[in-house]
Amino acid sequence: MAIVAKTSRFGKYGRPTLAWVVGLLFFFPIFWMVLTSFKTDADAVKPEHLIFFKPTFDNYINMTENYDYWRFAKNSVITAVMATVFTLFVGIPCAYAMAFNPSRATKDVLMWMLSTKMLPAAAVLYPMTFITKTAGLFDTHFLIILVLSLINMPIVIWMLFTYFKEIPKDIIEAGQMDGANTWGEIKEILIPLAWGGIASTALLCFIFCWNEAYWTVRLTTTDAATLSKLIEGNRAPEGLFFGRLSAVSAAAVGPIVVLGWFCQKQLVQGLTFGAVK
């Protein structure tokens, strides 16, 4: 390292400066959204109030009145949490079997699962609407939870599989010798050992569920509508209500962005499917 560390002036001043500029540039749109959310709708579009303005909390206080925010937020929390739980409930045993008792078909099954994610959702929108309306499931929490689970299941199983693969087989086999049954093995040995991997998989699944914006918008009207639906349905034309739109947008992405900050490292490791070390 000694040789590499003896760097030029660029290494000492230029690189950090440039890095900070890039970081701030990427963050700027989010910062701008939050800043705008403290302006009144009128101030938000006036160039003279671009940076200097009288901050107001009205947009956040009136969020319930303007957008019925809490109802959508509640639906987002319910569906994302339940979908994550259900996906893990189905995904953990599946990934466990694939990692510790692989067969010749395992690779193909995994590839096939991933390929279901490439099916264009729009191609099956009409049949889906038709089926769910006939079955009386349209616009229910149950349906959204199921759909979110199915969308994310391939990625979740992939991620879990890559984590489980890292666990030495001997440990699991030792458990089998002790006479633990499969559920016991999963509960007593696998889950404690792979806890970090499972947690980051769950977080990523939760984030994808929260941000999903195709099915949640098209398979709901009111009862199960999530924050994605709220934002898509209320995009104001041509600069009306920038202030309140910013506030509700910030409130919609805030929890997830903060959550993401805390677990960025784990998320990335999972998303590389174990192929990047």
């Binding site: 264009p120 009409y126 070390k277």
Partner: protein, 312 residues
């Protein structure tokens, strides 16, 4: 229970669920694509219920192939996906190399950089098209207005006035317009997914062989050839992964296209299906089948490319 049966049993729920999720809608789409099926028709009310007696054979497919938007939508789908892939990979590599060495505040810069990745697509689109790219009220409009005013002021200045007098008035770009809406989508998705590429490349760079690098420095290799012959080959696998995951997500872009211009001048295949589905379910389904075929071609290509590395 034997050792062989149990693993299969544990996989069954997941496999079964995904199979149903794939096959039932796909089967129905296939069926609808071969019949005449519309939601509203005053002249032919019998077409409004799906039935084998409305069999149309490949008529829907022919109709779709002959519609003026179809080829454009395919081209545009590929244009958008490839542009985003190209930009995110290039920017991702550059930024990852830039912030890979320790410097004051590295942790904070990482947090700032990753943030866009967690923003939901609907908010991303609303934020960019309104508050940033809008030609009048967004930052773009305000910035262009400000520059024009500044130049106007300088035109009357002594000595340099003649120089600024030759400058034209800048025009803000309307990103909702037919020609430019695709660029708006590319900008906002690139903004959202570059952080993802950066983080994956960074993870990979941290495992780069430092001794090899030192040896290269001793041999007199300059920064460029270090990057070209050591770093870039090291990044081949992460680049493949970034390309695959992004292709999966971006082939089905929808919210951004809807919000930017409602598909005006900027349709991709999913959006075209959505437009057909407003009335002509048969045509929408046929387009859907084309989209499935396109997705499969891309999938085979991608999985061939990196399937092996994933299983190692």
């Amino acid at each position: 229970m034997s050792d062989r049966k149990l693993p299969r049993l544990l996989q069954t729920p997941a496999v079964l669920l995904l199979l149903v999720w794939m096959l039932i809608p796909l089967g129905m789409t296939l069926y609808f694509s071969f019949i005449r099926y519309v939601l509203n028709s005053l002249r032919r009310p019998e077409w409004t219920t799906p039935s084998f007696s409305n069999w149309r054979g490949f008529g829907n497919y022919e109709f779709v192939l002959n519609s003026k938007d179809f080829l454009f939508a395919i081209q545009n789908s590929l244009f958008i996906v490839c542009s985003i892939l190209f930009l995110t990979v290039i920017l991702g590599v550059l930024i990852a190399v830039l912030i890979n060495k320790t410097f004051p505040g590295q942790g904070i810069v990482r947090v700032l950089l990753i943030s866009p990745f967690f923003v939901m697509p609907a908010v991303n689109a609303v934020l960019w098209i309104n508050m940033i790219l809008d030609p009048v009220l967004g930052l773009q409009g305000i910035a262009v207005g400000g520059i024009n005013e500044l130049i106007d002021g300088l035109k009357d200045a002594p000595l340099v006035g003649w120089f600024f007098g030759m400058w034209p008035e800048l025009q803000p770009i309307s990103f909702r317009a037919t020609q430019t809406s695709a660029y708006a989508v590319i900008i906002m998705v690139t903004w959202q997914w570059t952080p993802f590429a950066v983080l994956i490349f960074m993870t990979s760079l941290q495992s780069e062989d430092q001794q090899q690098k030192e040896a290269a420095v001793l041999d007199g290799a300059n920064t460029w050839s270090q990057f070209r012959f050591l770093t870039l080959p090291h990044l081949a696998r992460p680049i493949a992964i970034v390309v695959m995951i992004q292709a999966i997500f971006h082939l089905s872009l929808y919210a951004e296209i809807e919000i930017v211009s409602r598909g005006n001048g900027n349709k991709n295949l999913p959006y075209l299906i959505g437009e057909f589905a407003n009335n002509n379910i048969g045509a929408a389904s046929a387009t859907g089948i084309f989209a499935v075929i396109l997705a499969n071609i891309v999938a085979i290509f991608l999985l061939r490319m990196i399937g092996k590395t994933l299983m190692e």
